[in-house]
């Protein structure tokens, strides 16, 4: 990122004044720079949806071939934990949206406060997920060849090892996204602390926000499909 505005390469209109410190020289205006970054983010989110769609299709195929098994196996998932996590993620989405709004109006303390709340909710999600996973592992409800729930006194008819393979892949990939989200949220929290963001430059806050909302979106579909089958 160049801050050399006196560079002859700087495509600035004459007399345009000093732009924000993160203005790259190959853009004409801050608006153009923000628009390009946001467009790139939307293309990335599109690839994310395509990646998850493969897992969703796997789920629907399993459900199509083994409707009774899926119905029986899903009863072993903790609906309360799933519901708590849904509310936690939706609330974290709200605090993220409020952080972006705070950046738009230039309220740095509010950005930091809302980002901290978002990180706290993300960690809550992972803690609940940890307890869910450890229960599943304890009961031997593991994917594929590792499945051995019958040794722990659970008899699920059909091929439950396939259901749990799908369960762990879908929630696992989603969980990795939450962990990455915690990382990037921390990054913009630190940058907000350095006072990098202003109403003319808040692209990182906005793009991390878009990413975080996508993580929420995917969970909105995962939750009813995995936990609330009927």
């Amino acid at each position: 990122m160049s801050t050399d505005h006196s560079s002859p390469k700087a495509h600035r209109p004459e007399g345009a004044g000093e732009p924000h410190a993160f203005m790259a020289h190959h853009f004409n205006t801050p608006g153009q720079q923000a628009g390009a970054a946001k467009f790139g983010m939307w293309v990335f989110l599109a690839t994310e949806i395509l990646m998850f769609s493969g897992l969703f299709l796997a789920y629907f195929i399993v459900r199509m071939h083994y409707p009774d098994m899926v119905l029986e196996a899903h009863e072993h998932l903790n609906k309360v934990a799933g519901g708590i996590n849904t509310v936690v993620l939706i609330t974290s989405s709200l605090t993220m949206a409020l952080a972006v709004r705070a950046a738009q109006v230039g309220d740095t303390p509010a950005i930091k406060r809302n980002l901290l709340l978002t990180i706290a909710f993300a960690l809550t999600f992972m803690v609940v997920k940890y307890f869910e996973y450890s229960t599943k592992i304890e009961h031997g409800m593991l994917p594929g060849k590792y499945y051995n729930a019958w040794e722990h006194g659970y008899a699920i008819q059909g091929s439950p090892h396939i259901f749990f393979a799908v369960y762990f892949c879908m929630t696992g990939l989603h969980g990795i996204h939450v962990l990455i989200g915690i990382g990037v949220l921390t990054w913009i929290y630190l940058r907000a602390g350095k006072g990098h963001f202003s109403p003319s430059y808040y692209t990182p806050v906005e793009n991390v926000g878009l990413y975080w909302h996508l993580v929420d979106l995917i969970w909105i579909f995962l939750f009813p499909l995995l936990y609330l089958v009927r």
Partner: protein, 168 residues
């Protein structure tokens, strides 16, 4: 700013190019969307307990779609954003639709095709089913490793795969 600072984008002069032009939604609208999302989450729960039979999956998906739409429009600002971003995002649905339709169409029509042509078709998708559930003779249900193995030996000797799995 003087006249020299006129900047043209797509052949049109633009004003105030030092600012990022974004719609700033009022706090109230975020709270309203949040409330609606919570209500819809409750509805998802309710739907799953209503025993709607085969209709439950479409209903659950419609509720999830409504929630997703709210998140996209208000939290992700798509309602006020460049329409091109909406297009990029929704275009994935087209490709996901093609992906789903053709795969499921293929899987559902294989039976018929193999019947008509007499071709070989493996119907068992799972490589090997897990062993039949073992009836535990003792009172306590949550057996340790050795307990499970003991049960296992009684249940069936012929399943090599299951033996391997019981070992660890």
């Amino acid at each position: 700013m003087t006249d020299q600072t006129k900047l043209h984008l797509h052949g049109k002069p633009i004003e105030g190019f030092e600012e990022v032009h974004e719609h700033i939604s009022p706090l109230k609208s975020y709270m309203a969307v949040f409330g609606a999302l919570l209500v819809l989450t409750g509805l998802t729960y309710a739907v799953s307990y209503m025993s709607l039979g085969p209709a439950s999956l479409p209903v659950a998906m419609i509720v999830a779609l409504a929630k997703a739409t709210l998140v996209c429009m208000y939290f992700m600002h798509l309602k006020y954003d460049d329409r091109y971003h909406v297009f990029v995002f929704l275009s994935t649905l087209i490709f996901v639709g093609i992906f789903f339709t053709f795969t499921i169409f293929d899987l559902q029509s294989r039976d018929k095709l193999s019947e008509e042509q007499g071709t070989f078709f493996m119907k068992e998708y799972d490589r090997e089913p897990p062993p039949p559930p073992v009836v535990i003779p003792h009172g306590e249900g949550h057996g340790e490793g050795e307990h499970g193995e003991g049960d296992h030996g009684e249940s069936k000797a012929g399943e090599g795969k299951a033996d391997k799995m019981g070992e660890h």
